[in-house]
């Protein structure tokens, strides 16, 4: 479009002064360019009355630039190109007579005659073809989009059914829990006093203290592990992401220190394939070296078994302990009678027995060293299991309800749920050095092609919430933001802005990093292909 600048036959200013008064005027304003009987004309903003000769005389008189529609004299003016054969367009006055043929003015009217060819026939044709292609994409995309909407409808049905089922299940489980609670209460109430007494045992008290100590230690341990992991992530990111060519001594030192600490191989830190092997063998070596004292737990066992230890029901344990001690000492037949009774009679027997024993106790005849253990513990665990089950069912129900709610949440899957179909759909783009992956509504990742490592670029946070963008508008759904990824060396947490447009495929097209660790990814999705409203636009185009 760059014509040879400024041909010598450019007309002198006198010729410019002879421009038609309506040259460059938008059709809607042409009627306003009329000379008064006094031979004057008023600026469109009404600010000044000028001689009619001042219009289009290449000198700016009106504050709104309206006296120079056809020249570049006013900095704030606009120029209208008729573009016969195509669509008329307005350009800034600063584009007029600058020696460049504006693409918006295919008729060449923005420059002196002879400078720019009239290309409106070709450009108009190309434009129509392009529009047609775009329409086609949109039509196809809109069809796919409609399947997404029906998918969402099906999902709605499925989720509603699921919620209904789960609601029923929760209800029935609730009554089951209530029943078991009742049994447990009764079992426990009989033994409560006894239990209180047992709990005063120094052994139990010490055990309780150990329990809390262990729990606290574990909490501190978890905190440290968490911190170590953050540090390790930072350092791994640094090791994988730094540019060894920059010869930043601090970075190199940090990377080498980390490699040594974590037992990674030296050398090209970005060649991770070799490192993975090294890591494995290194770990094996470490484990082999570790010798455990008698009875001490291995790190692995600590990981898996500590929770079990902490979660032991101490009351149960107390009861079992009693039982164990009881086994050692002489057993009262009375206390142990239950073993000989048929199951059928057991409940009655227990009631009677409890009654008798408590009586005896009351009178100080017998100490409460009875076998209450098996019964309470059974009732307790039955109740606990039922409660767990209830909790799970409630969680499932909550999840299903939440999913149902987000399905038509304009700030999530959209009012018509069109995006639901794409939930957790993972799209990839290979840029040579890295493959970028976005699992929609999930996480975005960067995967170096030469290593098994991945860097989180963040999780889906929100749509385009820029000021002025209406929630639910097409513009709103044109951008997804993923935030809170792994922090960069000397930089921010990685994040992604995903810009989407209508296309027949769900795909990522380009990846750029305009600022350090802030990625811009473009892509297409049929979910953005809104159905064409009627046929008016294309029909109008045909007429041109």
């Amino acid at each position: 479009m760059f014509s040879s600048l400024f041909p010598l036959f450019l007309l002198p200013c006198v010729a410019v002064g002879a421009l038609e008064k309506t040259h460059g005027v938008h059709p809607s304003n042409v009627a306003k360019y009329q000379v008064t009987t006094k031979g004057t004309w008023t600026c469109l903003d009404g600010s000044r009355e000028l001689a009619w000769s001042s219009v289009n005389d290449d000198y700016c008189d009106c504050p709104d630039g309206s006296d120079e529609p056809g020249t570049s004299a006013c900095a704030n003016g606009t120029f209208y190109c008729r573009n016969d054969g195509h669509i008329g367009m307005s350009i800034r006055s600063s584009r007029v007579n600058d020696g460049l043929c504006e693409p918006e003015c295919c008729d060449g009217s923005d420059e002196q005659p002879g400078v720019c060819p009239n290309l409106c026939v070709e450009i108009g044709e190309a434009y129509r073809q392009k529009m047609e292609a775009e329409m086609k994409t949109r039509r196809t995309g809109a069809k796919i989009r409609s399947t997404y909407i029906s998918f969402a409808a099906k999902e709605k049905k499925r989720l509603e059914d699921l919620v209904a089922t789960l609601t029923r299940e929760v209800e029935s489980q609730e009554s089951e829990v209530a029943r078991l609670q009742d049994i447990l209460d009764r079992t426990e109430s009989i033994s409560a006093a006894d239990l209180e007494f047992k709990k005063q045992s120094p052994l139990f008290e010490s055990l309780t203290e150990h329990h809390f100590a262990l729990k606290s230690l574990k909490r501190e341990h978890e905190k440290l592990k968490e911190k170590e992991k953050i540090l390790a992530d930072i350092l791994s990111a640094l090791r994988g992401g730094y540019n060894p060519n920059y010869q930043d001594m601090a970075v190199l030192e940090a990377v080498r220190g980390w490699e040594e600490y974590a037992g990674l191989s030296h050398g090209d830190a970005q060649n991770e394939e070799g490192d993975d092997n090294a890591e494995n063998s290194e770990e094996g070596k470490e484990e082999a070296e570790e010798e455990l004292e008698e009875g001490m737990w291995s790190a692995g066992r600590l990981d898996y078994d500590l929770d079990r230890l902490i979660n032991v029901d101490h009351v149960n344990l107390l009861l079992e302990h009693d039982k164990h001690i009881g086994d050692e000492t002489t057993k009262s037949v009375l206390f142990d009678l239950s073993s000989y009774l048929p199951d059928l009679l057991l409940p009655q027997y227990e009631l009677v027995r409890d009654y008798i024993v408590s009586m005896l106790e009351t009178f100080g005849v017998a100490r409460g060293n009875r076998d209450i253990t098996a019964d309470t513990s059974k009732a307790r665990s039955a109740h606990q299991n039922a409660e767990n089950d209830l909790r799970h069912k409630r969680n499932d129900k909550d999840d299903a309800e939440q999913e149902l709610a987000s399905l038509f949440d304009p700030e999530w899957f959209g009012r018509d749920g069109v995006w639901k179909k794409l939930d957790e759909l993972c799209l990839e783009k290979d840029t040579g050095e890295y493959t970028y992956e976005i699992c929609l509504f999930g996480e975005a990742r960067q995967k170096p092609n030469k290593s098994a490592q991945t860097f989180s670029l963040g999780k889906f946070k929100h749509w385009n919430n820029a000021p002025g963008v209406e929630v639910g508008s097409p513009e709103y759904y044109s951008k997804q933001y993923y935030k809170g990824g792994v922090r960069c060396w000397n930089g921010p947490e990685r994040s992604v802005t995903l810009s989407l447009t209508c296309g027949t495929e769900n795909a990522l097209h380009t990846v750029t990093e305009p600022e350090k660790c802030e990625y811009h990814i473009t892509g297409t999705s049929p979910a953005l292909c809104l159905p064409l409203e009627g046929k008016a636009p294309s029909a109008k185009k045909e007429e041109l």
Partner: protein
């Protein structure tokens, strides 16, 4: 450009992790004087002299019988002996040049080795012409020459002790060796025993210590030279300099007994009038250092060396301006002291090289600038587009990124001429080689930028990645034109952006044609050429100090070997200039007919002004750096580097919007106007800002473009006269003492524009010093201020730039906003006529095609605009005169045209360009008529305000003449009655 976090210990990693810009300057990475053996020796010498007081006497003296005066020119030579080394001979050469400049040279004769004697070959534009008229007279105790139009200048060379004095009217202006600190350490053998055994002191020291003292110190030389200190080896941090040549430093005291202000010796981040470094209550403790260095996050007030060095100092007082150009290419330290008010002593110590010093007699600032320009050349006239706005960032990451940045500039209607690519365009930092993953279509991209009449500038650094798959390195290696290590064999290897790298030795003439070949845009038979570029691409030469990440002081070991066997220490400060020099030559040879090259360099030396622009390197986004950047650009202007600027926005850090706006206001009034940003910073292209900042910056950019005719005219002037483009108060008003230390406001060329950029956060007002009794018109409001050697206070809200037109000036502008400057070529002009108290004014306008050398063949327009009071009544006559026809020999640098054809091709091409508006400020009353001299009435408009004549202040009267129908390139008269 450097990454942050250099040499930070591992333990501070967490700290680093927490804050973005963490480590500041590591002052420990660069030497202080006491860590540099020769500087230590130099300061110790000065110390001994001070202690000895009146008893101190220079050991150097001329052998009276050896004086030989040339028969046909103002030159003489003489043998010089030093009493401490009677066996060593020095030769002194004195010349007086045509323009009265005195050249003093001194070198050791028949020594063990040759001192480096080629610095002037690189710095000087041509061999200076020695006067045929002036004569030396040999007397009993001196040789002297008297000259000057009034025979008021004399140079006296005293024999014993050796002392060289330049006098004006019988008063000392410049004195060399007046303090007896001249010393050329002669070459010696390492095992050399102390010369000429002398008497052992009566009261010796005890035991072993005594023996050692006797061996090394108590010689005839020790009273002067002191003890041997770091002669043969010295270490700094982990580096050891082997110094195979031993001591060879050069010490010289240069005094200005009648001058209380000294300027120059760029580049340092300090005030323009150089603060003291020695003496009581000295401002700095360290001497000014000249040692080109890639100083990471430099301090905003420090005598530390920076990227470039120009060993040129001006001394100024109300009575005269003189200068000293001390041509040394090695590291130098300069102490400045004021022994008493109104006088200045300086002491220069350099690591190696001969003494080669030019005394510039002035006596006006303009004279000194011209004298220096005759030696090293004037700033080359740049391409016109290079005066537009440059948009840079480390990095625009892909060709699509470049396209979209350009698109955003156009959508938001911000003018810009140049888009820049920093190092990440290249594959593994192999310069010339595009990273095709991100820049798959470099030529298409460049052409997309060129479509809007814009240009691209691409970086080429001097370090070559040492891999055989890099043709540039491979060819250089095969040609044997790389810098050699201390062994003198093979290739020096160091680390830079590209990892393991080697450096082209541009001192080697064998590299020159090869470098030219690389820039050809067509395939070449003899190897690589840059076919992935276009003939309009400009080049950015960075890291040419040279910056070596793992080298001493982030540079090359001093014992590296260059062409001719010279050590790196000898040529260090010149090294960077040769790189931009050769790039300039290469771009010149790239196209036929040649186009004016654009080369930006970070490192520079005296003479670099012949090869393009420089910038002040990696500044920080702080208000202090913004402010000191102005002083640095002023100092660089005085050093000949008029085409200079600081990175707008600051290289490091994220400037807040207010700071960024102010920085644009600073940048728009610097000769080289570029915004740049570090890779770790947020994007800050002006269109990304919110309102009102965005619109203010758009207005600032447009103002720059409106004033381009003024800027280009100023560049023409400096390209011919060497007078800096930015002129501080002392240059404009050399007799006004109150202005000598002012370095935060300046005039632009001869335009009459005075600007005081605001560099304080939250400022709403500014004080401006007006050095004369004259009306100064606010550029934007036409308000008349009258300062008369006093400060005035003006409004300076964020959108307001304190900018004034000095009464008596005519400013040509082009007011129509365009996307880039070439698109303004046919736009009409506005003339702002600011009348002075005599109701007259004048201004100039220079135009040419802006990109070729056709102007050297007379293809240009050079006009003078005048306003003159009518002989009778209150009328004014405006006229346009052909300066080119009147003064053809002064029009173009280096081409004394004998005649000028007004019908030249360029003038013809712009003949339709008209003057669309003439604004006359400060008339005494409403005109009765405005007409051309043929009597045709013109359309005009009058606002009644304050007149230039008188004492009133307030908005001036404004006469606006609409479409006067005159061409900018023809003669015309307009009569206002």
């Amino acid at each position: 450009m450097r990454l942050s976090g250099q040499l930070v210990p591992f333990t501070s990693l967490l700290f680093l992790y927490c804050s973005l810009t963490v480590s500041a300057l590591k002052t420990g990475d660069w030497k202080t004087c006491s860590q540099s053996a020769f500087c230590r020796r130099g300061r110790a010498l000065a110390g001994r002299a001070k202690e000895a007081g009146a008893n101190w006497k220079s050991p150097y003296a001329i052998e009276p019988t050896s004086v030989v005066v040339a028969a046909d020119e103002a030159a003489f030579s003489a043998a010089v002996k030093s009493s401490i080394y009677p066996d060593i001979t020095f030769k002194l050469d004195l010349q007086v040049l045509d323009d009265g400049v005195v050249r003093v040279r001194m070198d050791e004769v028949d020594g063990l080795r040759q001192r480096y004697n080629e610095a002037s070959n690189w710095a000087l534009n041509s061999e200076p012409s020695v006067s045929k008229q002036i004569e030396w007279t040999v007397g009993k105790g001196d040789v002297r020459a008297v000259y000057g139009a009034k025979k008021d200048i004399s140079v006296v060379v005293n024999f014993s002790p050796l002392k060289i004095t330049l006098l004006r009217g019988g008063k000392e202006e410049i004195v060399l060796n007046g303090e007896g600190l001249l010393h050329l350490e002669h070459f010696r053998n390492k095992a050399e025993p102390p010369p000429a055994p002398t008497e052992v002191p009566e009261e010796g020291l005890d035991g072993e210590e005594e023996a050692q003292q006797v061996m090394e110190v108590n010689s005839a030389s020790s009273w002067f030279e002191g003890e041997p200190d770091g002669y043969w080896e010295e270490s700094f941090l982990s580096w050891t300099d082997k110094k195979p040549k031993g001591p060879e430093s050069l010490s010289l005291d240069i005094n200005f007994p009648r001058h209380g202000h000294v300027y120059g010796i760029p580049q340092h981040a300090t005030g323009l009038s150089l603060p003291t470094t020695t003496g009581e209550d000295s401002f700095f403790d360290e001497p000014y250092r000249l040692f080109n260095a890639d100083v990471f996050e430099y301090l905003a007030s420090s005598p530390m060396s920076l990227y470039g060095s120009i060993p040129l100092m001006y001394a100024h007082s109300a009575s005269s301006t003189v200068g000293v150009f001390h041509v040394v290419g090695s590291e130098s330290w300069i102490d400045v002291a004021h022994p008493k008010d109104g006088s200045t002593n300086t002491h220069w110590v350099s690591e190696s090289g001969i003494l080669d010093t030019f005394l510039l007699p002035g006596p006006t600032p303009e004279d000194v600038f011209a004298q220096y320009a005759r030696l090293t050349g004037t700033p080359v006239l740049p391409a016109h587009w290079a005066l537009g706005y440059h948009q840079c960032r480390w990095n625009y990451v892909s060709s699509d990124d470049v396209r979209s940045v350009q698109q955003r500039f156009d959508e938001e209607d911000f003018p810009v001429d140049v888009f820049w690519l920093d190092i990440e365009y290249s594959e593994e930092h192999k310069y010339f080689i595009w990273d095709k993953k991100n820049f798959p279509d470099p030529v298409d991209m460049t052409q997309d930028v060129e479509k809007i009449a814009r240009k691209m500038v691409v970086i080429i650094d001097p370090h070559l990645k040492r891999t055989q798959d890099y043709p540039v390195y491979k060819e250089a290696s095969e040609l044997g034109i790389l810098v050699k290590p201390s062994s003198g064999e093979g290739e020096y290897e160091g680390w830079c952006w590209s990892g393991s790298s080697s450096w082209v030795d541009f001192f080697n003439p064998g590299s020159w044609d090869w470098w030219k070949k690389l820039f050809k845009t067509t395939p070449q038979e003899n190897g690589f050429s840059w076919i992935d570029s276009t003939e309009s691409v400009g080049i950015w030469n960075d890291m040419n100090e040279p910056s070596v990440f793992n080298g001493p002081e982030i540079s090359m070991p001093r014992d590296n070997v260059h062409y001719g066997g010279w050590e790196h220490r000898d040529v260090h400060n010149i090294n960077g200039m040769l790189f931009s020099n050769q790039t300039w030559q290469a771009l010149l040879a790239r196209s036929n007919p040649p186009k004016r090259p654009f080369v930006l360099t970070r490192s520079f030396f005296a003479g670099s002004q012949r090869f393009g622009a420089m910038w002040t390197g990696d500044n920080m986004g702080t208000w202090e750096h913004m402010a000191v950047g102005i002083k640095m650009v002023l100092a660089n202007n005085l050093g000949g580097m008029s085409f200079s600027g600081s990175d707008v926005g600051g290289f490091f850090g994220n400037p807040e919007p207010e700071m960024l706006v102010r920085w644009y206001e600073v940048g728009a009034f610097g000769p080289f106007f570029r915004a740049h940003a570090h890779i770790d910073t947020k994007r800050r292209e002006p269109y990304l800002l919110d309102e009102p900042y965005k619109s203010i910056i758009r207005d600032v950019l447009r103002l720059r473009y409106k004033l381009l005719p003024m800027w280009y005219t100023a560049f023409r002037e400096t390209s011919v006269t060497g007078i800096p483009i930015l002129r501080p108060q002392f240059v404009m008003f050399p007799k006004d003492e109150a202005g000598f230390a002012i370095d935060d406001q300046y005039y632009i060329g001869s335009s009459g524009l005075l600007v005081k950029p605001v560099t304080e956060k939250g400022a709403t007002e500014a004080t401006v010093y007006l050095g004369e009794k004259q009306a100064y018109y606010d550029y934007f409001t036409s308000h008349i201020h009258r300062g008369n050697q006093k400060n005035i206070t003006v409004k300076a809200e964020l959108h307001q730039i304190p900018l004034f037109i000095r009464g008596g000036s005519i400013i040509p502008t082009r007011e129509r906003p365009r996307r880039s400057s070439p698109l303004m070529k046919m736009d009409p002009f506005t003339l702002r006529v600011a009348l002075d108290d005599q109701r007259k004014a004048r201004g100039e306008l220079y135009l040419d095609d802006g990109e070729t050398f056709a102007h050297e063949q007379g293809n240009f327009v050079w006009r003078e605009f005048k306003a003159e009071a009518s002989k009778k009544g209150k009328g004014i006559t405006l006229s346009s005169l052909d300066l080119a026809a009147a003064r053809p020999s002064d029009a173009v640098d280096g081409k004394a045209l004998s005649e000028y054809r007004g019908t030249n091709d360029f003038a013809a091409s712009v003949s339709p360009v008209k003057v669309e508006r003439i604004v006359v400020l400060g008339l005494g009353g409403k005109p009765t008529s405005v007409s051309t001299d043929s009597g045709a009435p013109l359309e005009w408009d009058y606002y009644d305000g304050v007149a230039a004549v008188g004492k009133k202040e307030g908005v001036a009267s404004i006469l606006t003449i609409k479409n006067p129908g005159v061409s900018v390139s023809s003669d015309w008269n307009i009569v206002i009655e």
